[in-house]
C-alpha cells in the first residue's frame, strides 16, 4: 500500500491510499453511519469491500450521472435519511460518481465530509485529488460545481479488475497528460511501462498511480482554486471538452477525448511556434499508439461520427477557460513546460479541427 499526503494551503491535509486493500481504511474515515453514493455495476461487483453502510444512493453510470436530476435525487435522499453535519458521504465509483456525489456532499447543509473511493483508473489518477466537483448543464461540461476537498482518498486497485477495456484506456489518456504536465521522468516511465499498461498488467500500477497523484498534488497545492499554475492540468482539455460536448456527453470516454486533445495541443503548439522540443510530437504519437489511444481527430471520427469543426469551435467558446467567448489553451513547449492562457485564432483552430 502506498500513502501520499495531499497538503493544500489553508485546508486540512488528507491521505491518498493506493493499493489492493486500501478500502480497509474506509471504516475509520467514514464513521458509524456512512451514506454511500455509487453506481450499479461497481456497487454490485465490489460492495463487499466497503464497511457496513447506513444507506446507499445508486446513480447512473458514467457522465449520465452528472445531471441535475441525479444531484437533486442524491440530496433528497440525504435529507430523507436525516444525515446531519457529522455524517460522512462515501463516494464509490468512477469520476462521475466522485463529481456529482462530491457536489452533493459540498452542498448538503453547506458541506459535510466526503471520502473518495475511486474505482476507475481515470478517477484514481485524476478525479480523486484536487477537490473539484461538478455536473454538466446544457451550456457546457462541468459548468456547475464547487471545490470540496475529501477527508481521505482510498484507491483500492482490486476494483480495477472489473473495469471495461475502454475505461482502462480512458484512464491511460489522463496518465499521459499528467506525464506531459509533470516532465520527462514521468513521461519516460510511462513509455517504459506502455506495453504492460496496454495489456493491463497490474504489477506496477500502484506506483504509477502514486506518481500521478504526487504530480497532481504538487500542482494543486500551488494553486488550489485554479487562478494560475493549476491551469496546466487542463492540457488537452479545451479540445477534449468540446469533443465530448459535440459527441454528446458520455459518448467519448473522457480520457480518450483528452488523448486526442493532447495531439491537437501539440499540433497547435507547433503551428503557434511554441513547441521547443520537436521530438515530443512523435514520442506522444508512439506512446498513444502503443496504449491503444486515438492519435488524431480522424481516428476519433471513425468511431464517433462527424464532430464538425464549426460545432467544436462553438463549444470551445463556452469552455470555463474562455474569456469573452475567446477560448484559452494550455500548450506544451516541452514535457514539464507548458504555456498557459494561449489564444488561438479561429482560422488556425478550424484548420486543426478539419
Amino acid at each position: 500500500m502506498i500513502r501520499v499526503e495531499v497538503a493544500l494551503p489553508g485546508e486540512r491535509s488528507y491521505p491518498v491510499v493506493i493499493g489492493a486493500g486500501a478500502l480497509a481504511e474506509a471504516g475509520q474515515h467514514a464513521g458509524e453511519r456512512p451514506f454511500c453514493v455509487s453506481e450499479l455495476t461497481v456497487f454490485e461487483a465490489h460492495a463487499g469491500l466497503l464497511p457496513p453502510l447506513f444507506a446507499t444512493q445508486v446513480v447512473p453510470s458514467g457522465e449520465a450521472a452528472k445531471e441535475w436530476e441525479t444531484l437533486e435525487a442524491t440530496l433528497s435522499s440525504m435529507a430523507f435519511e436525516r444525515l446531519d453535519r457529522r455524517s460522512v458521504v462515501l463516494l464509490f465509483g468512477g469520476g462521475a460518481v466522485l463529481d456529482v456525489g462530491g457536489l452533493a456532499a459540498s452542498l448538503y447543509m453547506r458541506g459535510i465530509r466526503a471520502v473518495s473511493c475511486p474505482t476507475t483508473l481515470l478517477a484514481m489518477v485524476d478525479a480523486s485529488v484536487g477537490g473539484k466537483t461538478a455536473i454538466n448543464i446544457a451550456g457546457g461540461k462541468n459548468l456547475v460545481g464547487t471545490f470540496h476537498q475529501p477527508v481521505a482518498v482510498l484507491a483500492d486497485t482490486r476494483t480495477l479488475a472489473t473495469l471495461p477495456d475502454s475505461e482502462w484506456r480512458s484512464g491511460l489518456g489522463e496518465v499521459v497528460k499528467t506525464a506531459l504536465v509533470d516532465g520527462d521522468e514521468l513521461l519516460a516511465r510511462v513509455e517504459r511501462d506502455a506495453r504492460a499498461l496496454a495489456q493491463r498488467e497490474l504489477g506496477s500500477i500502484d506506483e504509477l498511480i502514486a506518481a500521478c497523484v504526487r504530480a497532481k498534488a504538487r500542482v494543486v497545492a500551488a494553486d488550489p482554486h485554479e487562478s494560475g499554475p493549476r491551469k496546466a492540468l487542463n492540457l488537452g482539455h479545451t479540445f477534449a471538452h468540446a469533443l465530448e460536448k459535440v459527441a454528446g456527453f458520455g459518448a467519448i470516454p473522457h480520457g480518450v477525448a483528452v488523448a486526442c486533445g493532447l495531439t491537437l495541443a501539440l499540433a497547435a503548439s507547433e503551428r503557434a511556434g511554441l513547441l521547443e522540443d520537436r521530438t515530443l510530437t512523435a514520442r506522444v504519437d508512439a506512446l498513444l499508439r502503443s496504449l491503444g489511444l486515438p492519435r488524431s481527430l480522424g481516428e476519433l471520427r471513425m468511431q464517433h461520427g462527424a464532430l464538425p469543426p464549426r460545432e467544436l469551435l462553438e463549444a470551445m467558446k463556452l469552455d470555463k477557460k474562455a474569456r469573452d467567448a475567446q477560448p484559452k489553451f494550455v500548450l506544451p513547449r516541452r514535457a514539464g513546460a507548458l504555456q498557459l492562457d494561449v489564444e488561438l485564432d479561429s482560422t488556425l483552430l478550424l484548420e486543426l479541427l478539419a
Copy 2:
C-alpha cells in the same frame, strides 16, 4: 452613507455600504457587463438605481425563489449569456434573491463574483453579511447551499420605500434577534427607536442597519463556517424554521417566525433554568408588541392556522442544527449572553409548542 468593512479570516474583506445612494457604487464593483438576478416587483420599481445591465434573470418573489427550478434556470441563463470567470452577478432583491442568486454565483464555473444589493430590511440587517447561500428542499429549509462571500454589499435604503408593511415587520424581527445576540446597548437602542421603527420613520434606519451589520460581522468573523460561536445567530431559528416549514415555506415571513421563535426560546430558557435576567422576557414581549410582531405561538396561529405541535417537533429533527435527529437550540441567558447547543426533551418541547 455609512461604510462597514467585513473582514473574514482567510478571505478578502468587503465593504457594506448603507444609505440612500449606496447603489451608485454598483458600477465600480460589477464591471462592464453585470448579470443581474432580481425579482419582478423590486426590479420594476427600482431598476433605475442600477448601472447598465448585460442581462437580467427575474426569479419569483420571496421564498418561492429558493427552489431547484429557479437555481437551474438561473445557471442555464448564465451559461446562455456566456458569463465567464471574470463576470459579476448583481443580486438585487430580498433575502431569497440573495440566497438563490448567491448560490448560483458560487456554483457557476465553481464560483464567480457576486455583489449583494439587498432591498428589504431583513436582507440588509441579516442576509447580506456572512456569505450564506441556500435553497430549500422538501427535507428542510436552507438544506442545500454554500458559503460564498460577496465582493461588496450595497444596501440602498431608497429601495425600502416600496417594501410592504409585513416585510418591514419581518425585518424588525431579525433586528430584535440581532440585538439580543449583541447585548444590552443595541437592545436599549431598538427599544428607544421602537415607536419610530413601527411607524417606518427612516430617520435613524441607516445607523440601526449599520449597528446590526457590525454586530453580525463581529460574530461571523470569529467563526465564518459556523462551527462554534456563529451559532449564536441562530437564536430563535430552530423554532422559526419549523414554523416556516409546517406553515409552508413563504407563508410566514421569516423575521415574523423569528420573532415568535425568540419568545419560545425565552420560555424554553426559563423552563430549562438558564435564564439569568428574569426581566428579559417582559422587555422582549413589550418590544415585539410595540413593533407589531407576534409575541406568542397563539398569536401566530390566529393568522396561520393550526401549526400542530407534533409536526413542528418533527420538522425540528431535520433542522441543520440537529444531530442524530436531536434538535439543538440557542437559548438566551441575558442580552448578549447565549447558551449554544442546548438539547431539550420532547415533553418540554411539546408543552412549549402547545
